[in-house]
Structures are given as structure tokens and as C-alpha cells.
Amino acid sequence: MVDKGQVISLCRFLLRAGRQYPDYNIREYAKRRTLDGFRVNKNLTDHSKVEGAYAEGKKQLEVVERVVKVYLAYPPKTKNIMELKLQ
């Protein structure tokens, strides 16, 4: 049975992994998507659905970690305009 603590841990791992992207766009997307994904399934009570969602979350975590390595190998040369402070 997947308990609440595990779900919260998974959310935290996903958010932390998503933070490592050097590219602004995918970094923001990862954060937005994980939070949306967890919020949509927030009120699930059916045990099998919860397990399914948790398994999918774990799969996505593997994907994120793998893709982060690829992105880190080719970091962007310039900063995205959204990252520049207003002057």
C-alpha cells in the first residue's frame, strides 16, 4: 500500500530532479507538470489507481533523471531572457 509519505517523497524527488536542468524552459515545465500531476490525482481513494499513479510517477522520475544527464552534456550557451533580472 502506497502511503502519503511515499507520495510526498516522490513529489520531492521529482521536483529536485527537475531543478537540475540547465535549460529554463524544461526546468519550469518539469516543476509545473509535477505539481499539476500530483494535484490532479490528489483525491484518489481507489487503491489500485493510487498504485498506478505512483508507478507512473516513478517511471517519470527515471525519465527525468536520464534526460537531465543529456541536457547537462549540452548546456545552453546564453541565458534565457526570463532568467535575466529586470534592469
Binding site: I8, R12, R19
Partner: protein, 136 residues
């Protein structure tokens, strides 16, 4: 620091700590005069951790919480406000802790992160980690 005679725990900025006596005095009052001088000079890290966080830290934490939970400007945010009382569920708490990590450039452990329930606890943890970092 001429604060040996006062009853508030004032290892750092003396003027600030007077409001926090009720919270900070976890150690019995008699303990203070004995070890105060020694701790002051050796800057014992262990005791500093149990001190209340600075008000600037609490203020910054409050600002982040206010922004994350989209609270209106007139909702009163005290150091003792619980996140759940402000309408935050566990996911919101995770988001808040992440935002705090980014803002203060610290890394919160799993176990610590699950125990944060009020603004004061968050501020204390931040101060704790900010102190440990330069020492490491």
C-alpha cells in the same frame, strides 16, 4: 554584549530577542548564567541552533508563504501560523519548502522537511542550515 542580566537569550542581535522569550526558553533559566560567558566566547554551535530565528528570516519565509498560497495582503501571518491553518495541503507544503530551498540556497533533508508545520519552524531550520553550511 551586555545582556547577561536580562532574561532573554541574546547570543546574537540583542535588541531582537526580547519578543521571543516565551518560545526560546526551552532551557531552564538557571542554566544561562553558568554557561553564558563560555558560550559567548567559544561560539558553541550546538547552543546557537536552539535559538530563535532572526526576524528578517521569518519575514522572508512569510513572504514566500504568502506568495505560494496566494494569500491576500491583510491575512495576518505570525511566526506561529501553521501552514495547514493557512489552507495549505501537503503538496503546498512541499512547494513552499522547495521555494525556501531555492531562496536561501540550502538543502533540506527528507526527515526535516516532513516536520515543518509552522513558519517559525521553517525559519529555525533555515538558520540552522545556513550556519552549518559555512562550517562544513
Amino acid at each position: 554584549m551586555a545582556s547577561l542580566s536580562t532574561s532573554s537569550l541574546s547570543f546574537k542581535a540583542p535588541s531582537v530577542q526580547s519578543t521571543r522569550t516565551s518560545q526560546v526558553l526551552r532551557k531552564p533559566l538557571s542554566f544561562q548564567p553558568i554557561s553564558f560567558g563560555r558560550f559567548q566566547s567559544s561560539k558553541n554551535l550546538r547552543l546557537q541552533i536552539s535559538c530563535a530565528a532572526k526576524p528578517e528570516t521569518v519575514q522572508k519565509v512569510s513572504d514566500i508563504v504568502r506568495e505560494q498560497l496566494a494569500l491576500s495582503a491583510d491575512t495576518a501571518l505570525t511566526a506561529e501560523s501553521k501552514f495547514s491553518a493557512l489552507g495549505a495541503d501537503s503538496l503546498d507544503t512541499v512547494e513552499i519548502v522547495m521555494a525556501l530551498e531555492e531562496k536561501f540556497n540550502i538543502s533540506v533533508e527528507e526527515a526535516d522537511a516532513q516536520n515543518i508545520t509552522t513558519i517559525q519552524e521553517a525559519a529555525d531550520l533555515i538558520e540552522d542550515l545556513a550556519q552549518k553550511k559555512p562550517a562544513a
